[in-house]
């Protein structure tokens, strides 16, 4: 497989407002607006003690679509996503997959429903190696029921070849890997199992520019394969670049979900920082953000 080395400067060149990045969007995704949602989360609420981390939020994603989930620190993005991946059960609300209500009580339920997650914390066991982490909970076994470590390593080498060809340390405990290498392992784990829905919570936070571009390319590719992707990111350019729609959260509430083509970066920033939908924001407020 040929490695794409884009000599892109860091930080990535900001596409002009209005999303000229649309050039990268596949036609399939543009047509996504018409298809039925793959996953729908309705009126989800999660509270920690008295703190309403997620307050009556509804979002959805369609096949072949990337939905960017943005918001300030502590807005509730991760918590919302964790309730979809089974890490934390929502207090109320409903989750529908292909239009049918489902119960996601634990990570296994989510995985069985085809939902894979890259957690913000990566969720790696530091003391075991990359293949062991990749297959954690879904080990490949030999005919006699023992762990087939060779087969797992082989599969890991293959996925990694796609994601991060420079990755070589398949036998070291992931503790000894760099932040970016660890993130690669977490991403590899999410994409290896033919997911229908992918949750990516800050997937590129620790990656270098080349690896970041690799992940972007991967997202585009997965999108074209028809996956629905929730992309949580603080990099607004990333989101504008990759997402079809953007959902903005503010203090646990959903400010709104907007089509990328309908908004400017400034308007999205306004939603994130001021917690108001674009039509409620006036020019001065947006101006004040500059």
């Amino acid at each position: 497989m040929s490695v794409q080395q884009q000599p892109e400067p860091r930080p990535p060149a900001a596409p002009p407002p209005g999303g000229a990045g649309a050039a990268n969007v596949t036609p399939a995704a543009v047509a996504g607006g018409a298809t039925a949602p793959l996953v729908e989360m309705r009126h989800i609420s999660v509270a920690f003690g008295g703190v309403k981390a997620v307050d009556n939020v509804s979002i959805d994603v369609r096949p072949g679509e990337v939905v960017g989930l943005v918001g300030g620190n502590g807005a509730g993005k991760s918590t919302l996503m964790r309730s979809l991946s089974g890490a934390h059960k929502a207090d109320s609300g409903e989750i529908l997959i292909d239009g049918k209500p489902v119960t996601i009580a634990n990570p296994r339920d989510a995985k069985n429903a085809g939902i894979e997650t890259i957690y913000q914390t990566l969720a790696l066991a530091d003391n075991i190696n990359a293949p062991a982490n990749l297959f954690l909970g879904r080990e490949i076994l030999t005919g006699v029921g023992t762990l087939d470590d060779s087969a797992m390593e082989d599969a890991t080498r293959k996925v990694m070849g796609r994601l991060n060809p420079n990755f070589k340390r398949f036998r070291s405990p992931v503790r000894n890997l760099s932040g970016g290498q660890r993130q690669s392992v977490a991403i590899a784990r999410a994409v290896h199992f033919n997911a229908k829905v992918l949750i990516m919570d800050e997937p590129t936070a620790a990656l270098g520019p080349a690896e970041t571009e690799q992940v972007r390319e991967l997202i585009r590719q997965l999108k074209s394969e028809g996956l629905g992707i929730f992309l949580v990111s603080h990099d607004i350019h990333d989101v504008i670049d990759l997402a079809e729609r953007i959902s903005v959260m503010y203090h646990g509430r959903l400010v709104g979900t907007v089509d990328k083509t309908d908004v400017t970066i400034d308007e999205v920033l306004g939603m994130i920082i001021l917690g108001q939908p674009p039509d409620k924001l006036n020019r001065e407020q947006i101006q004040s953000l500059r």
């Binding site: 990566l122 003391n127 954690l136 879904r138 060779s150």
Partner: protein, 433 residues
């Protein structure tokens, strides 16, 4: 396609680097090697002190056999500590099971199925195993499903089960055991004998060869780097030498005069010139089997993988969809089984059970695991390491007894050596990375 993993990054490095590379190429755990070196150092030291007499086969066999009870439980303690838990109840569980064996054989069987029947001791073993499993399951359930800290639960177990020993025994020492059962304790009468020992050694050598071959083939299947051939053959030869040496040492211990006379009298022959090789003691055979099975569980089964994952990052294990609670509960059930096996050997070695049997074992078992490289931070530890840890402790204790050092001073020496060993290991590891 197959490249060598031994390609050194510092070919012009110092001697130390080159030695480290050699070791790395064999993929042997450095900690284990350190323990073996420590053990050899202890033996050489005492050998010099006693003019070599301490290195005779009987001495090596004696301390190895004495270490078995602790070593067996320590293999399980590794998994307990790796999963970020603790088990303080092992000595008391052992006490309960040992007393169960003894009461069955000493009080129950004589009035029911009869004394020294061919199967009585097996019934006792089965019953003890069941009790071990039940006690382990109770504790495991409280820890895994009720989320009570393992320290608290097993501290409770330490007290409650010791009390239970007393209830089972009615307060008396229960002795003797079944004569067939006593064989499990080792000694000349509890050993394989010369011929079977060699057969046993041969089986192990074949197993090592097969294992090395299988591993190599498995890695070639996917075109992975394999060990250089010299390392592969080297490991095989070292394994062969260890097995042959072990059997030879065991067979070099001959039945003592008293036993020879008894044997001669029973068989109506002359004791003159009669030599019987003792061979590998049963406790050593049992320990070897336990170590292999436990290593297999820990490294080749999902269960072991999950235990280590839980220790490395409990949240990651949970998010990976692992049934962490059932895994933890299984660890404690396993501990119950190991305690029951160890109890059989403990009881056989004193041919009965006293109310204090197993008292204080928790500290020895935990020490063996920790000295063997298990970390209280969780996620790290090996089973062979713990076994070696136990053997090092008993080698020291035995040798100090042998030279007649008073017991209080034995404790001092053991403490100093153990701390020094662990400190050296920590130091060299810090320098290595």
């Amino acid at each position: 396609m197959t490249s060598s993993v031994a390609t050194s990054e510092h070919e012009t490095g110092s001697l130390r680097d080159r030695v480290m590379d050699l070791v790395r190429a064999t993929e042997i755990d450095g900690r284990l090697l350190g323990m073996i070196v420590t053990l050899i150092g202890i033996e050489i030291g005492f050998g010099l002190y006693t003019g070599g007499s301490i290195l005779s086969p009987v001495n090596l066999l004696t301390f190895a056999t004495q270490a078995v009870q602790i070593a067996i439980i320590a293999t399980g303690m590794v998994l307990v500590i790796v999963s970020r838990n603790i088990d303080l109840s092992v000595g008391s569980v052992l006490g309960v099971v040992a007393m169960t064996y003894a009461v069955l054989m000493h009080e129950v069987f004589p009035t029911t199925i009869g004394v020294d029947t061919p199967y009585g001791w097996l019934i006792a073993l089965g019953a003890g195993l069941l009790i071990g499993i039940i006690l382990g399951a109770i504790q495991g359930f409280l820890i895994a499903y009720m989320k009570i800290p393992s320290f608290v639960v097993t501290l409770g177990g330490l007290l409650a089960f010791r009390g239970l020993v007393f209830d089972i025994s009615g307060g008396s020492t229960q002795a003797p055991d079944d004569t067939q059962f006593v064989v499990l304790g080792g000694g000349p009468l509890g050993s394989l004998g010369g011929t079977i020992s060699w057969a046993f050694g041969a089986v192990i050598i074949v197993a090592i060869a097969l294992y090395l071959y299988y591993n190599r083939r498995q890695r070639r299947r996917f075109g992975f780097p394999v060990r250089p051939m010299w390392a592969e053959v080297g490991i095989g030869v070292v394994g062969l030498l260890i097995v042959v040496g072990g059997v030879a040492i065991s067979n070099a211990y001959h039945w003592p005069a008293g036993l020879i006379e008894q044997y001669a009298a029973q068989h109506g022959i002359s004791p003159e010139g009669l030599v019987i090789e003792a061979g590998v003691p049963w406790p050593a055979v049992i320990l070897l089997a336990v170590t292999l099975v436990m290593t297999f569980l820990a490294t080749k089964r999902k269960f072991g993988r999950y235990v280590y994952a839980i220790g490395g990052n409990p949240e990651a294990a949970e998010l990976g969809g692992i049934n962490t609670r059932w895994t933890i509960m299984k660890i404690y059930i396993l501990m119950g089984i190991l305690c029951a096996i160890s109890a059989a050997i403990s009881s056989a070695q004193i041919n009965g059970a006293t109310n204090d049997l197993g008292n204080g074992y928790e500290l020895l078992v935990i020490s063996a695991a920790v000295i063997g490289g298990t970390s209280f931070a969780g996620g790290v530890g090996t089973i062979p390491g713990a076994v070696l840890g136990a053997i090092v402790i008993y080698a020291l204790r035995y040798n100090l007894q042998y030279i007649g050092l008073p017991s209080n001073n034995q404790d001092i020496v053991i403490a100093v050596v153990l701390i020094a060993a662990v400190a050296f290991d920590t130091y060299s590891r810090r320098n290595a990375t």
